[in-house]
């Protein structure tokens, strides 16, 4: 008899949390975000009307509610890198896209970032990259932040690489980076140092031009 009563209570207690989740989902889907007008976006970004239309249609198709949350973003990004674990890097990427830091990327954020990355000037692109590396948004990149970023990137490679990944590869990479970027050897990289060092590097400059016509 006790067992019967026990099983019955188990049922009721389990039901409550699921109902909460259901309510949460309902809330998210009910709240629909609409972007600003087409003209405004056109003025703010470097895209033409038609390009914005194409982008929005794709975006709306994927996210009918008008916003992407971090989980979905991680899932999407991980699909492009099936060999390794892209979730950490996706997390950093998400934060850099989410300008208002409210946990969801709206279409404006999406399009603004794309505009910078594809149609922006070199300085804008480098600025964006700096913001990506600067995890805590304090204006400085220190070794720890850089190590995190580099580790996240290497995580995306997965286990099976040639030559095999060694444990101190990220650290070496970070050291090389700081060697190049940190001009005054104070252990942190500021925005100006970053931009200056990148502009001196021909490889980086050339590569920045390559991603013009992704859209």
């Amino acid at each position: 008899m006790g067992a019967v009563v026990g099983t019955l209570t188990l049922q009721t207690s389990r039901r409550r949390p699921s109902r909460d989740n259901l309510d949460d989902d309902l809330e998210l889907s009910v709240v629909c975000h609409r972007p600003e007008g087409l003209e405004q976006l056109e003025a703010q970004t470097n895209f033409s009307k038609k390009e914005l239309q194409v982008l929005y249609r794709g975006f709306k198709n994927e996210c009918p509610s008008g916003a992407v949350n971090e989980e979905t973003f991680k899932q999407i990004y991980s699909q492009f890198f099936p060999h390794g674990d892209a979730s950490t890097y996706a997390h950093y990427l998400f934060n850099s896209f989410d300008s208002s830091q409210n946990g969801s990327i709206k279409f404006e954020d999406f399009v603004t970032a794309l505009s910078i990355l594809l149609r922006g000037t070199t300085t804008e692109k480098l600025e964006w990259t700096f913001n990506l590396y600067d995890i805590n948004r304090d204006g400085y990149i220190n070794k720890e932040e850089m190590t995190n970023i580099v580790k996240a990137i290497y995580d995306m490679m997965g286990r099976f690489t040639y030559p095999a990944l060694k444990t101190d590869t990220p650290k070496q990479h970070v050291d090389a980076f700081f060697q190049k970027m940190d001009k005054n050897r104070d252990g942190v990289v500021t925005l100006d140092e970053f931009i200056l060092s990148c502009q001196e590097d021909e490889n980086i400059m050339r590569s920045l031009q390559l991603f013009e016509n992704v859209i």
Binding site: R57, F80, T129, F194, L208, L210
Partner: protein, 632 residues
């Protein structure tokens, strides 16, 4: 990768800018995208219903018809749209797949129609969304079962025996379909009778008979009339052994036959007898032998060859294997739990029946199935409480999987009923179809009779009946075929008449007689070839052997000068033999001017009087054409 993710690809590529400062080497060049980046609206006209969609939407799935360049084949320049002559209702679902990335199965549509549409548009059915996947799978399984039954029904009954089957094939057919011949039916009933006799003998043998004089004890009949029972058993086993050996001999695939369930049952049914014969009269061993006799009861399963219902039951059990397994598993779990509980509850009682947990299994089973023999009862209060819980839960555990099994059985049973009804209906249907086909057959022959080909003049026009343009074209086609093969279509009567006159008159042989003389000829003209010839020329005659082989003849020589000669039915034995050696068969009708390397050297005596004489020409003559009609 999901197409939806493809939308994000440009975004991911743009985000790669973030790696640039870290990169040790230069980035590779991106692929050049020649496609125009402007999105445009495409018009898709499906049987009059116009759909419009963005080009991007269709491009999401490049390995389907609409997403690849294959759709250009359907582009109509005049109306600037893609036209598909397919079901517009179904197309809605197909297009929704492109739009949402999820394929849904419309429940009101026929599963086969849906599958065909998917196949046409190049969409794999496996991507049906989870919401509709179960329904789709269930319907598909049902449909396949139905189709399998139909084909089985077709193959099983009433197809005419292939003419050149060996005795072995005929024997196998007789075994599988007893209704085909009287002998088979007789054998079927005889075996059934002997199965019944054997089973009854096994049963009666254990009934106590009156003891013989001078003994008080009751004896089972088996021991009183040992000789009689032994003779009966021997007779039955002999029949069963004979039947088994015949089946083994006739089976097309012996290994498969030996592994089949029925053959195993047969073997198990007759084994105890033979083992008993071989076994010595040893006291210890004969005890084991007695237990072997229990396998004789398996003979009753041989009845499943005779009873359709039994087969259905067996099939149901097989198809519900998972539910049965679940039932068994849950029962076992419950039995173990309750047996343990009862054992420990009754442990204290003196002289209790619950001596061990396995001993409590019996109590649990009897209680859960609500049998309640009462040979073991709990005495303690706790034992009684748990005993009552046990009986209550027993009802539940057994009642749960049973409806699933019952519904499966009912579905299969109804399908079988339907199959029987359909078989009866199909006979009528086929008869009607055959009648209609004969109509078209005769139309062409009639057309020829009325001199449709020769007399195109106005005077003959009156004779010609009114025919549609379709018929005109069809007849023209058949006429072309005739000209190609240098054979003509005829009907059964004319043909049989011809055969009579030929066999009497000339030293010729028809292909049929050839077949009896040489196996080579038959192998050259397999049954498949005949069927294909029938299908090829729709208005050919009914399936009589000789007439069909008319079209099957391998070589026809036609001189440019000689009159139209009919089939090489009247080819000589040697001619056809030589022809048969020529092994390059092709599936189409070819008319090729080849040097007649295989021409036989002799030529038949010309006889224009009787049609159908093969004319051969010298190898040097190159004016004739060699026409090969053959099929693989």
């Amino acid at each position: 990768m999901a197409a939806g993710v493809a939308t994000w690809l440009p975004f991911a590529r743009a985000a790669a800018v973030g790696w640039l400062p870290l990169a040790k080497k230069t980035m590779p060049k991106p692929p050049v995208d020649k496609k125009s980046r402007n999105d445009e609206i495409l018009f898709v006209n499906v049987s009059g219903l116009r759909f419009q969609t963005w080009k991007n939407t269709l491009d999401r799935y490049p390995d389907t018809l609409l997403g690849s360049s294959e759709k250009e084949f359907f582009y109509n320049e005049d109306t600037q749209e893609y036209f598909f002559d397919r079901d517009p209702e179904m197309f809605r679902h197909i297009l929704n797949f492109y739009r949402t990335g999820k394929l849904h199965y419309p429940r009101q549509e026929c599963i086969q129609a849906f599958d065909e549409e998917l196949a046409f548009y190049g969409i794999v059915p496996d991507i049906i969304g989870d919401c509709c996947m179960e329904e789709y799978r269930d319907r598909k399984k049902e449909n396949q079962e139905r189709l399998a039954e139909d084909t089985e029904a077709e193959n099983a009954t009433d197809t005419p025996l292939p003419p050149h089957s060996t005795s072995r094939e005929r024997l196998w057919r007789a075994f599988e379909n007893p209704h085909t011949s009287t002998m088979a039916l007789v054998f079927y009933y005889v075996t059934g009778f002997f199965i019944a006799v054997s089973v009854i003998a096994n049963v009666v043998e254990t009934v106590p008979c009156r003891p013989p004089k001078g003994s008080k004890k009751d004896l089972p009949c088996g021991e009183k009339y040992t000789l009689a029972f032994f003779c009966m058993d021997t007779a039955c086993v002999l029949i069963f052994t004979f039947e088994y050996l015949m089946r083994l001999f006739a089976a097309p695939s012996r290994c498969k036959f030996m592994r089949s369930v029925m053959s195993v049952i047969d073997v198990v049914a007759i084994m105890p007898y033979y083992i008993g014969l071989v076994m010595p009269e040893n006291e210890d061993v004969s005890g084991a032998f007695v237990t072997l006799r229990v396998f004789r009861v398996f003979r009753i399963f041989k009845f499943s060859r005779h009873s359709q219902g039994l087969r259905i039951l067996g099939y149901t059990l097989k198809s519900c294997a998972s539910e049965l397994g679940f039932l068994l598993f849950s029962l076992t779990m419950a039995i173990i739990i309750f047996a343990t509980v009862m054992f420990y509850a009754e442990k204290g009682t003196k002289g209790t029946n619950f001596t061990s947990i396995p001993a409590s299994f019996w109590y649990t089973i009897v209680t859960m199935t609500t049998l309640g023999y009462g040979d073991m009862v709990p005495n303690t209060i706790a034992g009684k409480i748990f005993g009552s819980i046990c009986s209550l839960s027993g009802v539940l555990v057994i009642a749960l999987p049973v409806p699933v099994i019952v519904s499966n059985f009912s579905r299969i049973y109804h399908q079988n009923q339907r199959a029987d009804k359909m078989r009866a209906q199909q006979k009528v249907r086929l008869a009607r179809i055959r009648l209609a086909k004969k109509g078209t057959t005769n139309a062409f022959l009639q057309y020829k009779e009325e001199g449709g080909f020769q007399g195109r003049g106005s005077d003959n026009a009156l004779c010609l009946k009114n025919r549609s343009s379709f018929e005109h074209q069809h007849h023209h086609l058949l006429h072309c075929l005739e000209k190609t093969t240098n054979h003509e279509f005829t009907d059964e009567l004319t043909f049989s008449e011809m055969c009579m006159t030929e066999s009497v008159g000339y030293r010729t042989s028809r292909s049929t007689s050839i077949s009896s003389q040489q196996g080579v000829a038959t192998s050259c003209c397999p049954r498949r070839a005949k069927r294909r010839a029938i299908r090829l020329a729709n208005s050919t005659v009914s399936v009589s052997r000789g007439s069909v082989q008319e079209l099957d003849t391998l070589q026809v020589h036609k001189t440019s000068a000689g009159p139209q000669s009919r089939s090489s039915l009247n080819a000589r034995t040697e001619d056809l033999k030589l022809n048969c050696e020529d092994r390059d068969f092709t599936a189409a009708i070819i008319s090729i001017p080849t040097p007649p390397a295989n021409t036989p050297d002799e030529s038949l005596p010309p006889s224009p009087a009787i049609p159908g004489i093969l004319r051969n020409s010298r190898p040097t003559s190159f004016t004739h054409e060699t026409v090969k009609i053959s099929s693989l």
